[in-house]
């Protein structure tokens, strides 16, 4: 009853203020990610998750700041940094103040620089860059700036969690590190060597190699080497076809230990691994959906699947991004002054429906949150991926993972 009165009052008030004014305006979030080309499936699924989060968490609850709705606008960057900068300008020209992006750290590096430059030159149309998946540690270290916020754990934090898990399994003696031959694959290898050396001096790295990215047809020879090295655990940063090819090949050729990895779920990969990946594929990530930590999370995933039956809730950080942005806008009392919103985000503690809380570190704008090790399985699986019986299930949780990981960031607040 109270709500209805409030709603009535707001509508009446807005009528008085004038229908032409800000009532029709929405808070726009510009989504810049690949919506065509080879990575289109990842990008499109991400956009759907953003649209859903905005509708479900914000608009269905009456919007923000007494009734302003949130709208997610998709921009196709074809995963090219150059194209992203053009799309960023288009978004800014349309009056968008919040940019979200995640696929490829190369794009994120270009965007964070461009946003910083733009905000210095145009204090009247400043924008915030909310990074939901680009995990290059540099973005919240050397290249950090006041406008960039990362809602995903970065590559080193994730490796910290993986090696925590390996450290507890004392029967793992031999670890094999393999990855794609480019910056991310190398970063994964470096981090694995560093953390394993610190946590388990008795572990031998029996193999540490890189293969050409996207060029390997048959991973069998790599798999043979892994098996022959008496490997107890494999660590890889592979994604897409390279992840599936490597994983399938290793399993097929007789390896039975765990494969620790970052991206081996959703986008058809879970279904393609199927039975063979059971008990072997282990992922690191945030956000628990199996088993659902609470009814709210279960309701969220169910509602998403009703709307996008072919999609997956494989990036719960998207919901966190929207949730934290909404909370920051409410706290700042404005969506137009992004400095106030950024100040509200910085240092924010947020309860996520996917379990635990998220702390946005003020010194580098890096989110600190619970990280989980997931297992690919079909046992006790209320919310599987890819419309298959398989999904990922939490087997271990590291609360507030890497909360005090070092940063070289020297944050400069705008004057």
């Amino acid at each position: 009853m109270k709500n209805i009165t409030k709603l009535g009052a707001v509508s009446a008030l807005s009528l008085i203020v004038g229908a032409s004014a800000s009532f029709a305006d929405t808070i726009k979030v510009g989504f810049i990610d690949p919506l065509s080309g080879p990575f289109a499936s990842t990008g499109t699924n991400g956009l759907h998750q953003f649209e859903f989060a905005a509708d479900y968490m914000v608009n269905a609850n009456g919007g923000l700041l007494d009734g302003t709705m949130m709208e997610v606008v998709g921009f196709d960057n074809k995963i090219s940094p150059k194209e992203s900068l053009i799309q960023l300008q288009v978004a800014i020209d349309q009056g968008i103040r919040y940019i979200v992006q995640g696929n490829s750290s190369g794009v994120a590096n270009a965007l964070t620089e461009a946003v910083d430059k733009h905000n210095r030159r145009n204090p009247d149309s400043r924008v915030l860059f909310l990074n939901y998946a680009a995990v290059d540690p540099a973005l919240t270290n050397d290249k950090c700036n006041f406008w960039h916020f990362r809602f995903d754990a970065h590559a080193d934090m994730k490796m910290d969690a993986i090696t925590d898990s390996i450290a507890e399994e004392t029967d793992i003696k031999n670890v094999y590190v393999i990855g794609q031959d480019y910056s991310f694959g190398k970063a994964v290898s470096d981090a694995a060597n560093k953390f394993l050396g610190e946590k388990r001096a008795d572990v031998t790295i029996v193999g540490d190699e890189l293969h050409p990215i996207g060029k390997v047809n048959d991973f069998t020879p790599y798999a043979r080497k892994i098996v022959n090295a008496n490997t107890d655990a494999v660590i890889t940063g592979n994604w897409g076809a390279d992840m599936l090819g490597l994983g399938k090949s290793i399993i097929e050729n007789g390896y039975t230990g765990p494969i620790y990895t970052y991206y081996a779920a959703g986008s058809g990969i879970t279904a393609a691994f199927g039975e063979s990946g059971k008990g072997t594929i282990r992922l690191v990530g945030e956000g628990q959906i199996n088993p659902p930590p609470n009814d709210e999370a279960a309701a969220y995933v169910t509602a998403f699947k009703e709307k996008y039956s072919d999609g997956n809730v494989d990036q719960t950080r998207i919901a966190n991004t929207i949730g934290m942005l909404a909370a920051a806008i409410e706290e700042a009392g404005t969506a137009d002054d992004v400095v106030a919103v950024a100040n509200a985000l910085s240092g924010m503690e947020y309860e996520t429906i996917f379990g635990g809380k998220i702390f946005m570190r003020p010194q580098d704008h890096q989110a600190v949150q619970d990280l989980h090790i997931f297992e690919h399985t079909d046992v006790d699986m209320p919310f599987p991926f890819d419309n298959s019986p398989y999904g990922v299930r939490v087997i271990k949780t590291i609360p507030m993972a890497s909360a005090d990981i070092e940063t070289t960031c020297q944050m400069k607040a705008p004057s």
């Binding site: 080497k225 090819g245 050729n253 058809g268 393609a272």
Partner: protein
């Protein structure tokens, strides 16, 4: 020693799979005189058709039907597409096949989506055939070897021992004479194109479960097929076989053994620079063979083109 044997088997599987594609492509080349850029796309279609059929009727029916469908589709492409374009010369034909490759990729994404599809080997073949020093050889790989060897023997028999084969061979080399003798050469060409694409379809059906079925699979395998027929000699079936096996073994062995560039350079008498991390050639020195394994066939192709432009078994000298 045991590992060498395992690698020989793995390389054989890769090579034979490549051969099924390059055999069809090289036959089509002898016939049309141009490369069929869409050849690997028919391979992809084979995998996707087989996946769809296997959902309803099982893997074996898929193995039987999918290549047939792909072959018929290939024949239709020749009959209603390429034959019309042929009169305008080679360049339009090339562009036609190139466009077709793009079209098929978009079509596959449209029908089956952009994700990987869960196309798996049949359960009856999901066991270890035998193991060599702890390296298991999956039964499915043995099955792949049998299928491809069977196809090669059958193809060789038809082409060299039967009347149909002789007419085909004659039509490939002297189409006008064969036509003058009263044979329907356009029909033969359509048949060869159909069989060539059907072979690619078979390769797709049996490779889909192991190399994963996704819209990029044609793009990953396509270039290497061209390399195979250029090395083997355009138009030569034996050349395609030898080159495919060679590529299979080279890449497998390069991936299996960590041969370091440093060792090779030292071996030919170039000393390691003193402070390697400062050297401008640091990346070259720190290179290992698994890193470049899948690029080696291209290096081989360049060498062949320089020293024996007609390819290993090629007869064409222009």
């Amino acid at each position: 020693m045991d590992l060498i044997l395992v690698n020989l088997i793995d390389g054989l599987v890769t090579g034979l799979l490549l051969f099924m594609l390059s055999a069809g492509l090289t036959l089509i080349f002898s016939m049309m005189g141009v490369l069929n850029f869409a050849h690997a796309s028919f391979y992809m279609l084979g995998a996707y058709f087989a996946y769809s059929i296997s959902l309803a009727l099982g893997f074996w029916i898929g193995l039987l039907l999918a290549p047939l469908i792909v072959g018929v589709a290939g024949a239709m492409v020749e009959r209603y597409g390429l034959r019309r374009v042929h009169q305008y010369g080679h360049v339009p034909e090339l562009i036609f096949t190139f466009g077709l490759a793009l079209l098929i990729e978009e079509l596959v994404q449209f029908v089956w989506g952009k994700n990987h599809v869960p196309y798996n080997s049949p359960e009856i073949l999901e066991f270890t055939a035998f193991a060599i020093a702890g390296n298991s050889i999956p039964a499915y790989k043995i099955f792949m070897i049998f299928i491809s060897v069977g196809i090669f023997v059958g193809l060789l028999y038809v082409l060299t021992k039967t009347r149909v084969g002789m007419i085909i061979q004659a039509a490939l080399s002297y189409p006008r004479t064969v036509e003058a003798l009263g044979h329907n050469v356009p029909l033969i060409f359509m048949g060869v194109f159909g069989v060539g694409t059907a072979l690619a379809g078979v390769a797709g059906v049996i490779a889909g479960p192991v190399l994963s079925t996704f819209p990029g699979m044609a793009f990953v395998l396509g270039p290497i097929v061209f390399v195979a027929i250029v090395i083997g000699g355009l138009g030569s079936l034996w050349g395609a076989l030898v080159a495919s096996l060679l590529i299979g073994w080279i890449t497998t062995f390069a991936k299996s053994y960590n041969i370091e560039m440093e060792a090779i350079l030292n071996g030919i008498g170039i000393g390691t620079p003193e402070n390697l991390s400062e050297s401008p050639f640091r990346d070259l020195w720190s290179l290992t063979s698994p890193q470049i394994a899948d690029i080696l066939p291209y290096v081989l192709m360049v060498l062949i083109l320089i020293f024996r432009p007609a390819g290993l078994f090629g007869k064409r000298i222009q």
